[in-house]
Symmetry: C2
Subunit: 413 residues, 2 copies
């Protein structure tokens, strides 16, 4: 079997080495790169700047895409149209144009696989296609981003402040020099959108869903969560209600005994509740060259095995037709942190605004334990309508005693 | 699609109801039972005592086996020979004759699936076939029995003694009236043997592997483990060393931070370490009518989808040829509990015997905290050769101060 690669970075080199050392009957004959002069762990004569070297080579039956970003959408379409099976690790491409890729692959009788696009080495895509999709699924909650989970773990267990934890993640190679795609939750948004497409016929783009990151989280928040026996995790979630789908990315307070609450450091996990299957969780390494190569190789071996039987029909879109859950039906318990100039006078002002918006307070605490942060006033609330919360926060922010942007997280999921 | 059932107990009724309520295009036309007079949640005219009613009905394309015990081996062989696909939840049948079933299914161009035989609702078989088998696997550790995991959880977290926890498990329906198949580890032995067959070409029967149960465990043991930040779990394990395979079932001390240490109550989980895939864990409901039905239905839908394409080649035996790890190469750290008549005088006698067998003691503790148990002397050891341990225990037991059978568990895995 002769294959080609799109891109040849860290992930690409890991994949190349695995294939070269362990799979004598698979040969990587070309790799499309942008800079042909750069020294890479592949023979220089295999590198090319011209995609036609791959598209027009009839010996190449599959293309393995290890690039990042939207540009690979066109590359994947071109490869599928040239009747080559495609395997991609590119979550953005799959979230943006997965349906189109599947349609073209079907039409051309080739395969399109993307196990590495969500959860790195964790075979979550195959789990969803083969074992989850046939059942009624109520809930999917995923820790889908290793960078943010590592930071949250080091803040809650290691006693670090956000900046220290981020620096440590960068030093260890778990965070990019520019970490904003991870910290703002957008990375998770692309991944949860892909999982949604596997289960439901419900259109929404990764950039359109509710998305709250951990870029403003503080040790105060994690310590408070621990004090009430919760852990804060950044999750992508899909909740399937009779009134519609609620999908998004947000930090949530999870009870310490929840299986996801135990998923620490750079690990990822996806937790599913359904009937009659019950609860399932799949845990593992969500990133890194080795685990990602494992998923790419798993896809490749499936193509090698099933090739002549054409497109694996399991890899389809969800067929359960759903609409969006009406925003006014969403309710949740909440955690709020307001950093204020002068604590004593402000409590009644804040609580009056809570009352006005019908958000029922369950507890209040003044926290001055974090020397790195101005005095914090923490509120938790009973289950309340969530649609009014942004307006309420805006009204509270108009008071001059509010120092920085309030923090607001959901309790439970 | 018309199918038949073998057996119609609790699991069978769950499966029947799911199919009837959710799958209009699948019809269960016959169920083979031993007692045709018993009232069951299926129309009486579908029940039969005569297997030929199923075997000779050409409309029936698949047979779903929800019986327990060895008798189903012959029933499965007969169905496959009659060119009917077979799905079974029977771990004993798969462990005993899985290879034969696969061979006949191949020959007849039908399918043989057994997702429900290991891990109930957790799709561990599919995970192994599609995502684990292609990689180099170093270690498989599974909490494969919900009964014993429930008992251990209630003893360590709920403060119950063994008898109380067993009683509670029976009251909740998590343990059989005769629980010995679970407590002695034999149930787990069948399941780990099936997983071994999916990964390695290494022959050994479930009844031949090392098997240590929890039938002699005490709250003293669980409390001691907690005091050194470990949890005791009954696991099935496969360790793939260059010197050979080490497979068995035993209670082990797992560090509290190990992903399996967090798997509580009646839940099951399988943890895998390999390269380049890293660590993976799959968690969920290991028993119960709903989760088991989910696995049976998953298999059935795959047959419905792939039927005309014949046997799914993924469901094959492991091809990595391995031999048994030589017993003299096995080393481990250990936990020993000796219940003794008169503590002070016996320590030197026991430690002298440890020294004679070259088992190096790392800690000793006299425990008289458990009022339900005679004074206990607890030893932990450094990593030592394990082959000598049974003889050492025999020699210690010859002393009259030893009251009951010593307890010996492995620390770490």
């Amino acid at each position: 079997m002769k294959i080609a690669m799109l891109g040849f970075g860290n992930i690409g080199a890991g994949f190349y080495n695995e294939i070269k050392s362990g799979y004598k009957d698979i040969e990587i004959v070309k790799a499309l790169v942008r800079d042909i002069k750069k020294t890479r762990a592949i023979e220089a004569d295999k590198l090319t700047l011209d995609y036609n070297d791959i598209l027009n080579n009839p010996e190449i039956t599959a293309v393995v895409d290890v690039t990042a970003g939207e540009a690979s959408v066109k590359l994947i379409i071109d490869a599928l149209n040239a009747s080559k099976s495609v395997i991609t690790a590119n979550k953005m491409a799959v979230a943006l144009a997965g349906a189109e890729f599947i349609d073209i692959a079907r039409e051309k009788g080739v395969n399109f696989y993307f196990e590495a696009a969500v959860g790195g080495g964790i075979p979550v895509i195959n789990l969803f296609n083969e074992n989850v999709r046939p059942h009624r699924i109520d809930k999917v909650i995923g820790i889908l981003n290793g960078t943010t989970n590592y930071i949250l773990t080091k803040m809650s267990d290691g006693g670090l402040e956000f900046d220290q934890a981020l620096k440590l993640a960068q030093d260890k190679g778990f965070a990019e020099p520019d970490p904003s795609f991870d910290l703002t939750g957008r990375d998770s948004a692309y991944k949860i959108t892909i999982l949604k497409d596997l289960l439901f016929d419900y259109k929404c783009g990764a950039e359109d869903i509710f998305c709250q990151g951990i870029d403003r989280i503080s040790k105060t928040d994690l310590d408070y969560a621990a004090s009430i026996n919760y852990r804060i995790k950044l999750v992508g979630y899909i909740q399937n209600f009779s009134s519609g789908i609620d999908i998004g990315v947000r930090p949530v307070f999870l009870p310490a005994a929840h299986p996801l609450a135990q998923v620490n450091n750079e690990y990822n996990a996806v937790y599913i509740e359904g009937a009659p299957i019950g609860e399932i969780m799949l845990y593992g390494r969500g990133a890194g060259a080795g685990p990602t190569a494992a998923s790419l190789i798993g896809d490749l071996l499936r193509i090698k095995r099933d090739g002549s039987r054409g497109f694996n029909v399991a890899y389809a879109r969800g067929v359960v037709k759903k609409s969006s859950m009406p925003p006014e039906m969403k309710t949740q318990s909440n955690y709020f942190r307001f950093n204020v100039l002068d604590v004593p006078g402000v409590i009644s002002k804040i609580t009056t605004i809570f009352e006005k918006y019908n958000i029922s307070i369950s507890s209040m605490k003044q926290d001055i334990s974090n020397a790195n942060e101005p005095a914090a006033v923490i509120f938790t609330t009973h289950e309340s309508k969530s649609s009014k919360i942004p307006s309420m926060i805006e009204e509270i922010k108009r008071n001059k005693f509010i120092i920085n942007e309030p923090v607001w997280y959901k309790i439970g999921i």
